[in-house]
């Protein structure tokens, strides 16, 4: 009976739960799904992380390559994030070039990197005007069950924290770079931005960490990114119904709490890897 109700009247089905201040999967409105993290599982990448938020799964792999810095920014390296939503992760995505959603997600991630200053691109410069690192951060969704932006940001941050770059020296005679694989050092992470996404139901009810179905039925979506100092890095609200200032404030305070939870989780996982070694 419940299954039939769910298929026939999905919106009513959700409403009946929200009336009781809970959700079909048993969460309360302001509860995130269980988040698990696996760091450094891909040995071919210079840094990697796999994040699961509920059943949403996202993997991020970072590959570093050498390039010439851009003429206008001779002292800076590059960070190139790309989000891919392959047909593997959900039946709604088709093979071929990335769709609108993937493009928007890539741009969002790029904006978060830029505005939060998670990494100082000057750290990526090896020799001013001549050589710098390019960090290709490729984020792939393996299971799409809503709230992919949160998962992407966590995956990116954890992968960056795991990235080790080899030491590079430029030979003064031949001016060719020399890479010392044995000497690798961690990237310096300046900030720890974490995203928290919200959905607005029926113009008024605010829920946290929406699943795919909740995203589809909601009237507006909102993503807030904050760092460890409680600074706002990004507020992303693509259209939808309007939201009162009060509600937004509520979201921001929930996001700062989430930031602390995730940073603790990342630290814990990194520590457990170190002790395992």
């Amino acid at each position: 009976m419940a299954a039939g109700f769910k298929t026939a009247e999905p919106l009513e089905y959700h409403r009946s739960f929200l009336k009781e201040n809970c959700r079909p999967d048993g969460r309360v409105l302001s509860e995130f799904r269980t988040t698990t993290l696996n760091i450094g599982s891909i040995s071919t990448a210079d840094g990697s992380a796999l994040v699961k938020v509920g059943s949403t799964t996202v993997i991020c792999g970072i590959k570093a390559e050498l390039a010439n810095p851009a003429v206008e920014t001779p002292g800076k390296g590059y960070i190139v994030p790309n989000v891919d939503l392959p047909p593997l992760c959900s039946s709604r995505f088709r093979p071929g070039p990335p769709g609108e959603q993937a493009q928007a997600a890539s741009q969002f991630i790029a904006d978060v990197i830029e505005s939060s200053e998670v990494i100082d691109t000057e750290d990526l410069c090896i020799e001013r005007g001549k050589l710098c690192w390019v960090l290709y951060c490729d984020i792939i969704c393996l299971d799409y069950d809503g709230n992919i932006l949160d998962a992407c940001v966590i995956a990116l941050l954890a992968a960056l924290k795991n990235t080790k770059l080899p030491e590079v020296t430029v030979n003064t005679e031949t001016s060719t770079p020399e890479v010392n694989v044995e000497k690798r050092s961690l990237l310096h992470i300046h900030k720890h931005p974490v995203a928290a996404s919200f959905c607005v139901f029926d113009d008024s009810i605010l829920i946290v960490d929406p699943t795919d179905e909740e995203e589809k039925l909601s009237t507006a979506q909102l993503t807030v990114v904050t760092d460890e100092e409680g600074q706002l890095c990004s507020v992303h609200k693509p259209g939808g119904t309007s939201l009162s200032g009060e509600k937004l404030q509520e979201c921001i305070s929930r996001a700062t709490a989430r930031q602390r939870e995730i940073q603790k989780l990342i630290d814990k996982v990194i520590k457990s890897i170190k002790t395992a070694k």
Partner: protein, 273 residues
């Protein structure tokens, strides 16, 4: 080279740091034990880890890990076919797509699918098709997507195994499972389930070396896919095929067990009370 306008692009040229390594890369010895401690000239496959049904959105899915080779496969369908021009609508169509994550290989690969990906997709399709009862799915298509997360050799062989598991998990009717195994012949000796370095190492000008991948239906005793390159004598090829079949039989109980445990989880046996 087509420019990619739908993705964020970095600088026009960037080079892999491996081109500038101060030390030459380690070469693989063509005798003695293998780098990972496995035996040469024996059907010594890497222990594998398999799980079914990990992806909530897919009809069926499987994840396989053999040494450092990690790949994931999702199966979708049957759903209405997209190509209406096909004259043969009595049979369903199998669509395969195999892709490498950009960070899966020692060198970063482009997002844009190369000919290698498309060739592997085709091999995957030809290897799986004989095992699926396509006549039971008229006017529909079944999609198989493989994502290679980390490539440490024998990707095609493991993709075949993983894809057949995902199809079984999706409840697609099949005659048999398809298992894949590959080997590399190097002069007089061979290695089964080669790693990435073993696969790409091209030692001296020796004759009789090459790679071979076999897809095998274990309970029907049929070969559904076969591919080799390099240079081999007929005798080597024949023993190679036999070796790979043996490798597949070693894999069989593990795969069976994984499937059985998935089914048990989905529908627990009625408690005897």
């Amino acid at each position: 080279m087509p420019t990619d306008t739908k993705r964020l692009r970095g600088p026009d040229v960037s080079k892999s740091p491996s081109l500038y390594f101060s030390k030459p890369p380690a070469t693989v010895a063509s005798h003695g034990p293998r780098a990972d401690g496995r035996q040469r000239d024996q059907v010594d496959i890497r222990p594998i880890f398999v799980r079914c049904g990990l992806v909530s959105q897919a009809k069926g899915s499987a994840y396989i890990e053999a040494g450092n080779t990690k790949l994931m496969c999702c199966a979708y369908g049957p759903r209405e076919t997209e190509r209406k021009d096909e004259t043969d609508m009595k049979c369903g169509r199998l669509i395969t797509d195999m892709r490498f994550a950009p960070f899966s290989c020692p060198e970063r690969t482009s997002w844009i699918q190369g000919t290698q990906d498309r060739d592997l997709s085709l091999m995957l399709q030809e290897s799986l098709q004989p095992a699926i009862c396509l006549h039971k799915y008229p006017r529909s298509q079944i999609e198989v997507n493989v994502m290679v997360l980390e490539n440490n050799g024998s990707v095609l062989a493991h993709a075949i195994t993983c894809a057949s598991l995902a199809l079984a998990d999706a409840g697609i009717e099949m005659y048999d499972l398809v298992l894949g195994c590959s080997m590399r012949q190097d002069g007089a000796s061979y290695v089964v389930d080669p790693s990435y370095i073993e696969e790409s190492s091209c030692s001296s000008d020796r004759e009789n070396q090459g790679c071979l991948t076999v897809a095998f239906l274990p309970s029907l005793n049929q070969i559904s896919g076969l591919q080799s390159d390099g240079e081999m004598t007929e005798a080597t090829l024949t023993t190679g095929v036999r070796t790979c079949i043996e490798g597949c039989y070693k894999l069989y109980p593990v795969i069976q067990q994984a499937l059985a445990s998935t089914v048990r989880k989905a529908a627990p046996p009625p408690s005897e009370s």
